[in-house]
């Protein structure tokens, strides 16, 4: 650890100024990779996702979605971390990693399918290297660790080649750190020196429960105790997200040990569309964090770098298009068939599946015949 793991690394402050500190020094080489062009891509990912997010929330209110899980306010750390992954890397998300999904090329309508109740989540994890959402808090932390162990066993990681070795980025929230599975993932990751970096979005809340109920020490300090290379970042600073994730992934991929990032951010919206956060938190707190918006600061930086209006207009247009596309396509998503309930429970033939799907087929046919 370059410094106490509790000191947050920041490269871009809320006013869009480039900053540095003793804590950030270790990562400045990686921060320097963030060209204006790369920063523009961050901006685009964040803004388009924000507009998509807002559109989806609106569609949920109109009854088009069973549930919506917003990521508003958390785009900064997410875009930095996701853009820090190399093509060969893999992401194991929790369920609030909307920007990361975009960065890895997931069709957002497939995310929508899940929240509409059509599927349990069916994007192409093999080509996107972006795994399904995991809804049982903490469970994916072990999957990501085992997967990383597998990469190393396979010679796809830990060979010492920083360009071609692969690594895993595993995401979860502050609340998830209380589940035994998450601690167990730390144990396995360190025991096998697996090429994995844990990306914990500490957004202050686990539904209505503040982070202070889950921990009395910074989560980065807890993770460091397990022997993870542990860093706290300003989670609303995309550059910090990028630089620190890149550094820790590069270290992990070559076999030099797993890492942990505590990304200090805030959930500006509700936990999900089912939640009413006014019941448990103050609007002051929300406002305070609103002033630290991750998108605004990148925009200020880009403006300071004299990026022209055309770029911003183009991003706005893409955002509008993406939202429009969502509205246009949402009601045309393919519905699941009855048969699909039975078809994939097992990879190989199973007599109960055959019998039950046949029974349902005939039952449905009879019902249709009767009416």
């Amino acid at each position: 650890m370059s410094d106490s793991p509790a000191t947050a690394v920041q490269f871009l402050d809320a006013r869009g100024e480039r900053v540095s500190s003793a804590a950030s020094e270790r990562f400045s080489e990686y921060a320097d990779e963030v060209t204006v062009e790369l920063l523009q891509s961050f901006y685009r990912d964040m803004l388009v996702t924000r507009r998509f997010d807002e559109a989806a929330a609106a569609l949920q209110r109109q009854g088009q979605l069973a549930l919506w899980v917003p990521s508003v306010g958390q785009e900064g750390g997410q875009v930095g971390a996701a853009r820090a992954t190399k093509r060969q890397d893999w992401i194991f998300p929790a369920y609030r990693e909307l920007v990361m999904a975009r960065v890895r090329g997931v069709d957002p309508l497939q995310l929508i399918d899940m929240l509409r109740g059509n599927t349990h989540g069916t994007w192409d994890w093999q080509s996107t290297h972006f795994h399904q959402y995991t809804l049982v808090i903490g469970a994916q932390s072990l999957h990501g660790t085992g997967f990383a162990m597998g990469l190393a066993l396979d010679g796809k990681a830990s060979t010492g080649n920083r360009e071609t070795d692969a690594a895993v980025l595993t995401c979860f929230g502050d609340g998830a750190t209380s589940e035994g599975a998450t601690s167990e993932a730390f144990v396995f990751a360190t025991s096998y020196q697996a090429p994995v970096v844990f990306f914990c979005q500490n957004n202050g809340w686990a539904i209505s429960v503040p982070t202070s109920t889950q921990t009395r020490t910074p989560l980065a300090v807890r993770a460091a105790g397990f022997g993870l290379d542990s860093v706290r970042i300003d989670g609303n600073d995309a550059i910090a997200g990028y630089a620190v994730t890149r550094a820790l992934l590069d270290k992990a991929r070559v076999g030099d040990g797993p890492g942990f990032i505590e990304s200090m951010t805030y959930r500006i919206g509700a936990h999900t569309s089912s939640d009413d956060p006014t019941k448990y938190r103050s609007s002051d707190e929300v406002d305070e964090w609103g002033a630290r918006d991750p998108i605004t600061r990148v925009r200020l930086r880009l403006e300071a770098e004299s990026v022209d209006d055309e770029f911003f207009a183009d991003v706005d247009a893409e955002a509008a298009d993406t939202a429009a596309d969502l509205r246009a396509r949402i009601s045309q998503r393919p519905l699941p068939t009855a048969e699909s309930m039975f078809a994939h429970v097992y990879s190989e033939p199973h007599p109960v599946m055959a019998a039950e799907s046949e029974w349902l087929r005939q039952y449905e046919a009879n019902l249709a015949g009767e009416s």
Binding site: L67, G117, H120, L135, V136, E179, G180, S208, V209, E356
Partner: protein, 330 residues
């Protein structure tokens, strides 16, 4: 027990809330604990207002760990408390499975009776609310197979109000399964008379040509099926199990002795389920009375499907009637 002023009709969620309030007022060893149950009052508002009323000492949010909730509740029970734990959704009980199966269920036996385990685990369960994965399961079979646990599930506001209090009063661990899709179903509550003991089944509709038995949200489905059957001049008896472990077999056997036919209805997958046990025992105990085999209607033996398919997966009145027809066909 203290008596509260209750409105004439209460939704089940509010009846549980009232039952919890009554139990807490009666015994200051009763604690409520779980995720988001304090200030928020639970994601289904079942504990709404109770933190404000009884204070953070007796109603408290826990860190996000079901194993931690159950494990520390066991310690609290050892220390003389009566913790009532909320598990936020059915599908999230499994991280706590070891503490329930190997510890909670076994402590009293391990201590040859010198340690009571008055822990209640409240679990909103079942489908029908259009939720995403893990939010609509019916895991009661796992617990029914575990000696040392008691398992109940109310289907009416009256039972919800009383059974939660009886569960809390029990010195044994009780899993309290709340049929979440019925939370807003209203019914009368008689605060002066519980009616039946905790583990008694109840005949909720009398009939002569066949018997339907089930619990929780399926009671409404069975009643609807019986109503439809009546329109076709088929008279069905409907039994609400209320208790899943132990099962009160006497009224089921009597009913089958009268009707000669039994259909068991449940949301859970059928294979190795509570329905299997009922079918097995009734087949044995009413061997000479059954005019048809016991027929089970359950969820399919698949993981709970995406919401758009739940209408097919969870038994409805039609599926029940189809089974009745098959039974009558023997």
């Amino acid at each position: 027990m203290s008596t509260q002023q209750l409105p004439a009709q209460l939704p089940i969620a509010k009846a549980i809330n009232a039952g919890l309030r009554a139990a807490m007022a009666d015994d200051d060893k009763v604690l409520l604990m779980g995720e988001d149950i304090g200030t928020l009052g639970g994601v289904f508002t079942v504990t709404a207002g109770l933190e404000a009323e009884f204070g953070e000492r007796r109603v408290f949010d826990t860190p996000l760990s079901e194993d931690g909730i159950i494990g520390s509740a066991i310690g609290l029970a050892m220390a003389g408390f009566r913790p009532v734990c909320e598990i936020q959704f059915d599908g999230f009980i499994f991280p706590g499975f070891d503490q329930i199966t190997s510890q909670l269920a076994k402590q009293t036996n391990r201590h040859v009776g010198s340690m009571a385990m008055p822990v209640v685990i409240r679990v909103p369960y079942g489908g029908g609310i259009g939720a995403i994965e893990h939010h609509q399961e019916s895991p009661e079979a796992y617990f029914a197979h575990t000696p040392g646990l008691r398992i109940v599930s109310p289907s009416t506001a009256h039972d919800a109000y009383w059974m939660i209090q009886e569960a809390i009063a029990s010195n044994d661990p009780v899993m309290f399964f709340e049929p979440k899709r019925r939370y807003w179903q209203k019914g009368p509550v008689d605060p002066s008379n519980s009616g039946l003991p905790l583990h008694a089944a109840r005949v909720v509709r009398e009939g002569t040509q066949g018997t339907l038995v089930g619990h929780g949200a399926m009671v409404g489905v069975m009643l609807q099926a019986a109503e439809l059957a009546a329109a076709d001049d088929v008279s069905l008896e409907v039994i609400d199990l209320r208790s899943i472990s132990p099962i009160d077999f006497a009224p089921i056997i009597s009913s089958v002795e009268k009707t000669g036919r039994l259909v068991v209805v449940q949301e859970a997958p059928s294979f190795v389920s509570v329905g299997s046990e009922i079918a097995a025992q009734v087949s044995e105990r009413a061997f000479y009375s059954l005019q048809a085999p016991v027929i089970r209607v359950g969820g399919f033996d698949v993981p709970f499907p995406p919401a758009k398919l739940e209408g097919l997966h969870v038994p409805d009145a039609d599926r029940v009637l189809d089974a009745v027809e098959r039974s009558l066909g023997y």
